[in-house]
């Protein structure tokens, strides 16, 4: 039995110092909704648990001067949902974050944990990728930023360097006519892992789509940014042909597996269906006439 230590530092520097010093034997504890399950299953046996929830920067939500948002990596879904403005500006990101688990899990689970758990099926990730969110990470060598899409390296693996901790998400300011949405397919109505998840973020000007990003989850080893799907929408008036082209791009991007949660054929087909539905919701939110 290995000796496990628990640390709840008050500052990020302290957290990074301890985390880096443990040289990979440490795990970050945000909401714990993945970590504690993995520990109990014996999948991970950390020597050190660094609880980051007592660090102010990791648990705060800030609306930046330019109209963007900075969300601490350990902010729980429930706290994000209670923010007076965030859900108005980024309804798709919020609904994605709020789909992670039950009410009880929402009391704990964070977008940072969801991203660093690096499941291809993490609900918040496609929406964050669609939103073009950027993460700030801090490690022994200081801070850097990277796009959300660059964080997952494969199932359960990230591109964070040894000793680096995910600090926050930065979401850009919203132009007029922007809207986002997230939908997932699950067999039940709650409590399931996404079989496919689709985040769409688009901007409409006079009915024409001027920008569009599509994030697709659970169809490949990492959550995908489906560039071709965005391209198919940009310049269109979101007519049926453009949306079908974007759906086809989503299906083409799928590299899923057959597993207990879904089949290759099913996931591929559903990716297109969800794209169409998600575009519809995002377009309505963008003020489609």
């Amino acid at each position: 039995m290995t000796d496990i230590r628990y640390l709840a530092p008050r500052t990020l520097d302290e957290a990074v110092g301890a985390f880096a010093a443990a040289r990979g034997a440490a795990r970050i504890l945000a909401g714990g909704t993945d970590l504690l399950v993995q520990m109990r299953a014996g999948a991970v046996r950390p020597g050190l648990i660094v609880d980051i929830k007592r660090i102010a920067e990791m648990t705060s939500i800030e609306e930046t001067a330019d109209g963007g948002f900075r969300i601490g990596a350990a902010v729980s879904g429930a706290v994000l949902g209670e923010h007076p403005r965030f859900g108005q500006v980024w309804p798709g990101v919020l609904e994605a974050v709020n789909l992670i688990g039950s009410t009880q899990v929402q009391g704990r689970a964070s977008p940072g944990g969801n991203l660093c758990n690096a499941s291809p099926a993490g609900d918040s990730v496609p929406a964050m990728i669609a939103a073009d969110a950027v993460v700030t990470v801090q490690g022994p060598d200081g801070r850097r930023q990277m796009p959300v899409a660059a964080v997952p390296a494969g199932p359960g693996r990230t591109n964070l360097a040894p000793g680096e901790i995910l600090v926050s998400f930065t979401l850009p300011p919203r132009p007029r006519g922007a809207g986002d949405a997230y939908l997932r397919m699950i067999p039940r109505t709650e409590m399931d892992i996404a079989v496919v998840g689709c985040g769409v973020n688009l901007t409409l000007r006079d009915g024409t789509c001027t920008a569009a990003r599509v994030g697709l989850g659970a169809v490949a080893p990492t959550v995908l940014l489906v560039g071709e799907a965005g391209k198919a929408l940009v310049g269109s008036r979101l007519d049926a042909a453009a949306i079908e082209a974007a759906a086809a791009a989503c299906r083409a991007a799928c590299r899923p597996i057959d597993d207990k949660r879904g089949t290759i054929a099913y996931r591929t087909r559903i990716a297109g269906v969800l794209l169409k539905r998600t575009v519809g919701i995002a377009a309505d939110r963008a003020g489609r006439a």
Binding site: A41, R188, T189, E190, D192, R261, A265, Y266
Partner: protein, 747 residues
């Protein structure tokens, strides 16, 4: 009993154990400790099929903190080729299910166990046990297991003269089925597949066992029968039953899955070896891998009828997965399948097929949902072919008083027609449906059951009542007992406390299961209470110095009757109790019976669904169940049984299944991936209680709990057909399967 005059029977009283349960104080299996208690854990086979060449426990025994280690050698050996029956369970299988002997027969099969001073040390010790396996070919699926080249699980089991995985056969025959089909004008035959599904109780198996140096043993565990726990532990450990006191903890759900033991004999042996009380609790993963579930199945049903809808012949063949050891519920499948109908020619066959998965345990109307799924889907197709309303088809062929059923009985007064009639007349059946919505109906039957029960009714010195029965209260049966006792004594039900006795404090009582508890305990409680009332009248007679026959018990008091009427002021229960010592001693009575006369229960269900044709998801929009319960002693808990069974049936139909990986291990052993319905998946589940009293029961009770799980699989399937025009012959009707039918991959 005059229903209209009932004061407590039929009332929605507050259950005697209610406050205990809403405050978190009720003690379930895992909620108790004993001084000096240590923890037991089980080592399980990683292989689905393997000979156990050797087990070396020496390193585990040497680990500091380890107090005992055991293997199958520490249990009584029941030779594999000699049956030793205890009720419906064969001890040669039970001993091998508790701990593997010659072979590990499924991934998760216990092979050894340890007890240590902490859970962590026990877990470490398990890793130090060295088991040498000779890995064998394995088979999971029921159809695969019957193929000629399938791996054979038990060499001594033969079928038609050859070693086989078919371990048993049951056959019901009525009339001449071939002649019936020859006369039929319309015949429908279809085959169906269902997956194994788990009972899904929220409380994992757990127990705490203490063994004193003189062998006196206390078992605290949650089960559907403390007497079953005692008897099985006595068989498997060699202890006499009088040395074992099995105490019934509150039980956190069972649905049949706790009618057998898993941990208790293991903890008993560990406690005996270590001299310390041993606590054991399964993880949820262990529950899924090694307890329950019910059978998966492959069935074929053929039904023939005249053009005007009279069913002439029916044949059903039901192959059920038993798991690694024989004992699948073929009686429920083959026996209940055609039981709702008056069919002159029936041939119903059940086959018990072993394969390398955990041994099945009873699950609510064991086997019956599997049979009814096939039959009720075929009836739906038959109604379509005949252009008949599916309820009218059922009504036309409904079994009624005097119908001879293929499984044996000629029915007395039953209430099946009433359930169909009620469904036909219910607004649900005529409510409009929207696009992609559909409505399905199905019916179902369960035998119900009597059997052994004991009760003791005691009057306290202050004139209140304590009733003790021997049945674990799994869903509110204490409340029914309180209602009956209060009714008979003519007192407020709050004056009645109801307890569940342990094996040393109440007489033998058979399992809580088969929809028998309210039926059987009502009989022994009624007879006990009637004895008490006779005693109360005798005591009043003594006080009044009149003949006991001249005393009647009315409205909770003894009154002089006949010539003496009005001669003395009535004596209340409290007044008589206060003078009990001087009039002859404590007042109380017990009755023990092997109850008979439980008559079958029938139900008809209506289900509305909506299908998302692009995603393949199915949502149940509305559900109404109509069931003849004989008499609803406590309507709320009757409705609760109906609703709970329906919810389980919806899960079985749409989302629940055991999934195995390529190594033959359960791939979804968690509530996350074994998808039981959650609150947001279901609508309100409407219930219509129909009361056609059972003439053989003092209150008219039939039994409630099993029937509600029988119709839903077909009701949902038939509703999906109504919505989409496609039929599904395999459960669960999960989104990928639905979509594959709607949009074939090559389309």
């Amino acid at each position: 009993m005059n229903v209209q005059a009932n004061k407590w029977i039929g009332q929605r009283t507050i259950r005697p154990d209610g406050a205990d349960k809403v405050t978190g104080r009720a003690a379930y299996a895992a909620d108790t400790t004993m001084p000096g208690m240590i923890w037991g854990k089980i080592l399980r086979s990683p292989h689905p099929h393997a000979c156990i060449r050797s087990i070396d426990t020496s390193k585990a025994e040497a680990l500091p903190g380890v107090k005992a280690v055991m293997t199958a050698r520490d249990l009584v050996d029941f030779p594999i080729d000699k049956s030793v029956m205890l009720g419906i369970q064969d001890m040669r299988w039970m001993c091998r299910n508790v701990m593997a002997r010659e072979k590990a027969l499924f991934a998760g099969h216990p092979v050894a166990a340890v007890a240590a001073t902490s859970e962590a040390i026990a877990s470490e010790a398990l890793k130090l046990i060295e088991v040498e396996y000779e890995v064998l070919p394995w088979v999971i699926d029921v159809e695969e297991a019957m193929k000629p080249d399938a791996p054979i699980l038990h060499d001594h089991i033969q079928f038609e003269g050859k070693p086989s995985n078919i371990a048993g056969k049951l056959e019901h025959k009525l009339g001449d089925v071939e002649a019936g089909f020859a006369a039929a004008e319309v015949v429908v035959e279809r085959s169906f597949r269902t997956k194994p599904v788990h009972q899904g109780y929220i409380e994992p198996h757990a127990c705490l066992v203490s063994v004193l140096p003189d062998g006196k043993t206390t078992i605290w565990s949650s089960s559907q029968g403390q007497f079953m726990v005692r008897a099985m532990c006595a068989h498997l450990t060699g202890l006499p039953q009088n040395d074992i006191r099995a105490i019934q903890a509150e039980i956190g759900g069972g649905f049949g899955g706790k009618t057998i033991i898993y941990l208790e004999p293991v903890a008993l042996v560990l406690a005996r070896k270590s001299g310390r009380p041993v606590k054991m609790a399964m993880t949820r993963e262990e529950v899924f891998r090694a307890s329950g579930p019910t059978s998966g199945s492959y069935s074929t049903v053929r039904i023939g009828a005249t053009r005007d809808g009279r069913i002439l012949a029916a044949k059903g063949t039901f192959y059920l997965q038993a798991g690694a050891l024989p004992g699948s519920p073929i009686r429920g499948a083959a026996g209940c399948a055609f039981a709702p109908y008056d069919i002159p020619n029936v041939h119903s066959l059940g086959f018990d097929v072993v394969s390398n998965r955990s041994k099945v345990a009873a699950y609510r109307a064991p086997g019956a949902p599997i049979g009814a799924y096939a039959v009720e889907c075929v009836l739906d197709e038959l109604a379509e072919a005949l252009k008949m309303d599916p309820l009218q088809l059922r009504l036309k062929n409904a079994a009624r008083q005097g119908t001879k059923a293929a499984h044996g009985p000629t029915y007395p007064r039953i209430g099946f027609e009433e359930t169909i009639q009620a469904a036909l007349e219910h607004p649900h059946y005529r409510a409009p449906l929207g696009p992609n919505q559909g409505r399905g109906v199905a019916s179902g039957f369960w035998f119900n059951a009597g059997g052994e029960s004991s009760a003791q009714v005691n009057i306290t010195e202050d004139g209140n009542v304590v009733v003790t029965t021997g049945h674990p209260d799994i869903g509110g049966s204490r409340a029914s007992t309180a209602n009956i006792t209060a009714e008979l004594l003519g007192i407020d039900y709050r004056k009645v406390s109801v307890l569940i006795g342990d094996t040393s404090t109440i007489g033998f009582s058979n399992l809580t299961g088969g929809s028998r508890v309210t039926y059987a305990s009502a009989m022994v409680v009624t007879q006990s209470t009637e004895k008490v009332i006779r005693t109360l009248c005798e005591r009043a007679a003594k006080i009044w110095k009149i003949d006991p026959d001249a005393v009647v018990w009315e409205d909770g008091e003894a009154r002089p009757a006949g010539d003496n009427a009005g001669q003395f002021p009535p004596l209340t229960l409290a007044q008589i109790a206060a003078r009990a010592s001087e009039t002859g001693g404590p007042i109380g009575a017990g009755v023990q019976l092997n109850t008979t006369g439980a008559e079958g229960g029938f139900a008809t269900h209506i289900c509305d669904v909506e299908v998302d044709p692009e995603l393949g998801t199915v949502r149940v929009l509305r559900y109404t169940s109509f069931q003849d319960v004989g008499r609803a002693i406590h309507p709320s808990y009757v409705e609760g049984q109906m609703q709970g069974g329906v919810a389980q049936g919806i899960g079985w139909a749409l989302s629940e299944e055991y999934i195995y990986d390529k190594q033959g291990r359960v791939d979804n052993p968690s509530f996350l991936d074994y998808r039981m319905p959650v609150c947001s998946d279901l609508p309100m589940l409407d219930t219509v209680i129909i009361e056609v009293p059972n003439p053989k029961h003092p209150q008219g009770v039939r039994g409630v709990g099993e029937v509600p799980l029988v119709p839903p699989l077909a009701a949902v399937a038939n509703a999906i057909h109504d919505a989409l025009g496609h039929r599904f012959y395999s459960l669960p009707m999960s989104p990928p399967k639905v979509l594959a039918v709607l949009e074939p991959a090559d389309a």
